[in-house]
Symmetry: C2
Subunit: 252 residues, 2 copies
């Protein structure tokens, strides 16, 4: 009981091209060939094809299917690993969707897009040396490129959010807020979120900066007077540091 390539194709719901492809890559050689190279498939070949298609529907790549079939590799193991791949892919998609949604809400709130000039009041390059020394030229380049890629209005928005945040820190420091209090931790959360929203920030690419990055920055705020000045001096910087450290312990 042998069938022609078209018969098999119709039977299995695939194209004959697919079957020729599977022959070409050695995944499913026909059980025999006739005059002029015609391919014939017997029941064994058809059953093999069914197993191939079942695994293909699960999204397993063809070379792995071949491994399972030919080297008696552990099918369950292959599927488990494949499940991991699928999960990571889904996570990536979800983060991407979240980004798109954020961008969409920002867009629909009426941002004019495009700018002609950079903001001069916010020279982000002033910390270039510190950044490159701590996290490498790459990190600085990415961050710098990101910043320069924003429109003036976008830059104004970023600067405004940072100013707000800093002002809140200063006010909190003046009132002697406890770093571990709800208020301190809420500010820390805002701060981390701001950091994570800067593309190119060191850390996992899931929108959250790495713990080391945050803590390192926090220490720098305290150690460097230029940073401390943003938070109203050493006391403010210490509040920021303590709050951030406590926050990262809990959340990152």
């Amino acid at each position: 009981m042998t069938s022609s390539i078209q018969d098999v194709a119709r039977l299995a719901g695939v194209s004959s091209r697919t079957l020729r492809h599977y022959d070409q890559i050695g995944l499913l050689p026909p059980s025999g060939t006739g005059h002029g190279g015609l391919r014939y498939y017997d029941d064994g070949a058809i059953r093999r094809l069914q197993r191939i298609l079942l695994m293909r529907e699960l999204g397993l790549p063809l070379d792995q299917i071949a491994r399972v079939l030919d080297e008696q590799a552990d099918e369950a193991e292959a599927l488990r690993r494949h499940l991991d791949v699928l999960r990571r892919e889904r996570g990536r998609l979800e983060r991407q969707m979240a980004s798109v949604e954020r961008t969409l809400t920002a867009l629909t709130r009426g941002r004019p897009i495009m700018a002609e000039e950079m903001l001069d009041g916010f020279d982000h390059t002033q910390y270039k040396d510190e950044v490159t020394e701590r996290w490498g030229a790459d990190a600085y380049a990415r961050s710098d490129a990101w910043w320069r890629g924003l429109s003036t209005q976008e830059q104004a928005g970023w600067k405004g959010r940072l100013d707000e945040l800093n002002a809140a820190w200063v006010a909190a420091a003046e009132r002697g807020v406890d770093p571990t209090s709800d208020e301190g931790q809420a500010l820390a959360a805002r701060h981390v979120e701001w950091l994570g929203s800067v593309p190119g920030a060191p850390g996992a690419d899931d929108g959250r900066p790495s713990k080391e990055y945050v803590v390192g920055l926090a220490e720098m705020y305290v150690a460097d007077a230029r940073f401390a000045a943003n938070y109203g001096g050493a006391d403010g910087a210490a509040l920021v540091r303590d709050a951030l450290v406590a926050y990262t312990e809990r959340e990152l």
Copy 2:
């Protein structure tokens, strides 16, 4: 202020190859070229690159990015459509993950894999003509191929589940259950789920059969005595049909 290709690459955190590629496809031509074809990028080009990279991070394909940038296509609209693409992709992944998980549990419960012979007590080919007439040879071929691709134990499992379901229908018919009652609708839900779990069933590829398919089947159960016999006769088949029709009205 012009930069060489390497400067730009480092600045933006991409490879120079990528920049040459973007030039090649017309997405980002350099602002000028010097001796020997060296590419130079000015601030305008760099800003364009930043916008490109921002959209690329959102997963937008390059040709759509070009459309947004060059034809002033609506960025928000493009992103919304892209979001749809992402959502569908995620749905596909999730269904695939569910399939893989089902297969894994089936595997780890110790199925010996592979079968040598078909079940004879369940000749699914007996309805071949009806199926091909109603839904085309393709649908039958897919369904048939799917069935033949299962191992004996898997086939027994499918047959068992169908037998259970049919027995439940017969019992319900004997007790005079109302098609629109909770019990009738619960059975209909099981029935639809069973139908949807057969790969190759006509309808959307989201694991749910199409409404037309279900209703068509339901009518066939009543019209064809061979099907009706599965449900204990005409009365049983009528119950099944009425329950399925009501169910699809609500859910599909």
